[in-house]
């Protein structure tokens, strides 16, 4: 079971030392931050890279920012759509393991991946899973969805759970302990999020998720602190020991995760799951270690898909 950002990076390097290097197809590579992140991941032996995008701009940016391009293929595609389609085709043919978002919008990337010409569609919902290494927590904390799904409905929450559980399994977590967020510990009229959490628990009970313990409604403090859970008189396998925290909205997830990044020195990495290849995206404001961890995380998720026979 992987417990830190350093272990995520080490595990991805181990993969690439084996039969073959994992390959990241960067869609819209004319972005200095993304180029820098990919370079450092390649230098660390995490992956190899193919850069899809405007070749002239890529070379200019690389020169200006002293980023070496050796060992990276550049496939010239002037417009964003073609760059995405190029990266998606490469992933579809099995030559790339991860698609990484460069200088283009997330929706352009997703449209390309979901293009009917490719067989990259998988589940019904694409979602973002954040992986946080928080010094005050005894293991990695996965949170979803603070990046894509604005206000998931009940069915979408179930999809979000499945997507996040895949990432947890790729990290070797077993069983996967999932907390369904609410501000109370029992369903309460007038608090729909708590009622939905209770309904979700029922749904999962009827149609179990393999090797997952799902509990809720559960507040963040109860999910992550055994002491708080004890004081509230709650005892289940998830309380105080959650691997995944499913928030009720993009705001709840994003704001809570960022509080730990800003004030608790948490290392943040993230990946979009739900298609047959993981999609890696990094933000300009992520520190180098976070960007590198995100790429390594996507490689681990890709490997897990491939081992399970569901990936490309």
């Amino acid at each position: 079971m992987i417990k830190s950002s350093a272990e995520i990076i080490a595990a991805a390097r181990e993969l690439s030392r084996g039969d073959r290097k994992r390959r990241v197809a960067v869609a819209g590579a004319q972005d200095a931050d993304v180029l820098g992140a990919v370079r450092s991941a390649c230098d660390d032996g995490i992956c190899e890279a193919s850069l899809f995008g405007d070749e002239t701009t890529i070379r200019e940016l690389a020169q200006k920012n002293s980023i070496r391009l050796e060992g990276m293929d550049i496939i010239h595609q002037a417009d964003p759509q073609s760059a995405v389609l190029g990266a998606a085709a490469m992933a579809d043919s099995g030559q790339a393991d991860v698609i990484m978002k460069g200088f283009l919008s997330t929706s352009t990337v997703l449209k390309g991946i979901l293009d009917r010409r490719f067989n990259l569609r998988s589940g019904p919902t694409l979602s973002h899973v954040a992986v946080l290494e928080v010094p005050a927590y005894h293991k990695l904390l996965l949170m979803t969805d603070g990046g894509m799904m604005v206000k998931p409905n009940l069915q979408q929450k179930l999809d979000l759970l499945r997507n996040a559980a895949l990432v947890a399994r790729a990290l070797g977590i077993s069983p996967v302990k999932i907390a369904l967020s609410a501000a109370v510990i029992s369903p309460v009229a007038g608090m729909p999020q708590a009622e939905e959490a209770a309904t979700l628990v029922d749904m999962v009970r009827r149609e179990p998720m393999v090797d997952c313990d799902v509990a809720g409604p559960m507040s963040f403090d109860q999910a992550t602190s055994a002491d708080v859970a004890r004081r509230l008189g709650v005892s289940n396998s998830v309380a105080g020991d959650a691997d995944i925290f499913l928030a009720g909205s993009i705001e709840e997830c994003n704001i809570t995760a960022k509080s730990m990044i800003v004030f608790a020195d948490a290392i943040f990495s993230g990946v979009i799951v739900g298609a047959k290849v993981p999609v890696s995206l990094v933000s300009r404001t992520d520190p180098v270690i976070g960007k590198k961890t995100s790429i390594a995380l996507a490689c681990l998720v890709a490997d897990y898909y491939q081992r399970m026979g569901g990936g490309r």
Binding site: A183, V184, F220, T224, A247, E251
Partner: protein, 309 residues
Amino acid sequence: MTNQITTFDQLAARARELAGTKGPVRAAVIGSDEGPTLRAVGRAEEEGLLSATMIGPRNAIADLAAREKLTVDHQSIIDHAEPVNQMTAVSEMLGSGEVDLLIRGSIDIRRLLLALFDRSGNFRDGRRIVSHLACFATADYPRLLFMSDGLINVAPDLDRKAAIIENALSAARHLGVAMPKVAVLAAVELISSAMPITLDGAILAKMADKGQVQNCLIDGPLSLDVATVPEIARQKGVVSPVAGQADMLIVPNLETGYSLYGAMTLMVKAQSAGVVIGGRVPVVLPLVCDGSESIYHSITLGTLLSLSR
């Protein structure tokens, strides 16, 4: 106007100073049979911040006080074991104006809030809305960081958010924050119809521009990192007097505030305080994840707000 209070030590000093001038506040502790609360109340009483009426089961309170080596004046105990009776006593005290501050002890938070909201409870101040205000101090931030509302208003609409801001502003001003910088939080900095929460942030910011909310600076939507980290605000190109230096975070809904409160106390290990404001008296209400120190901070905050009314 007092100097701006930027730490919990300064807050305690200011509360002691006010209580020294105006006399200790008359506080009622609802469910006094709880160790951490009793300890914090004992400390506040020793420091002259308050004089407490203990509402709860007399024997349990006496036993606890003996165990904790605290002096409890038996005259000050109102002997009620049942929460419903405890709240009736509170309502009577509020009705006769004998109490300036309420402190939550062992009583269940929901039960406490429901009783306070009952029209016969004598707690409401006309139509003024009631909200929860949290306050954090972390090593990484140069001032106190207020947050509202993570406990009472579940999914506030625009008008209610404005009222939540007004409540929080009046509290912040009592702490000497002359022109509070208010960040209306969202997941992003740009306005998007796909994320309705961002619209509220933009409108509230505009309401401040138009003077509909006064004596403060509001910006929104802002993500938490842009609101509190100058470097990230700069990198993301957000130029506003609030970005990077917010005094106050307005969360979109209760669940967000509650999760944020948990993360701030457990993961950030921030010092924290919580009070309910907007009623006839402040209510000291730290959350379950808070320890004894937070209860004391909450009492100092409640005392200062009570004495500043």
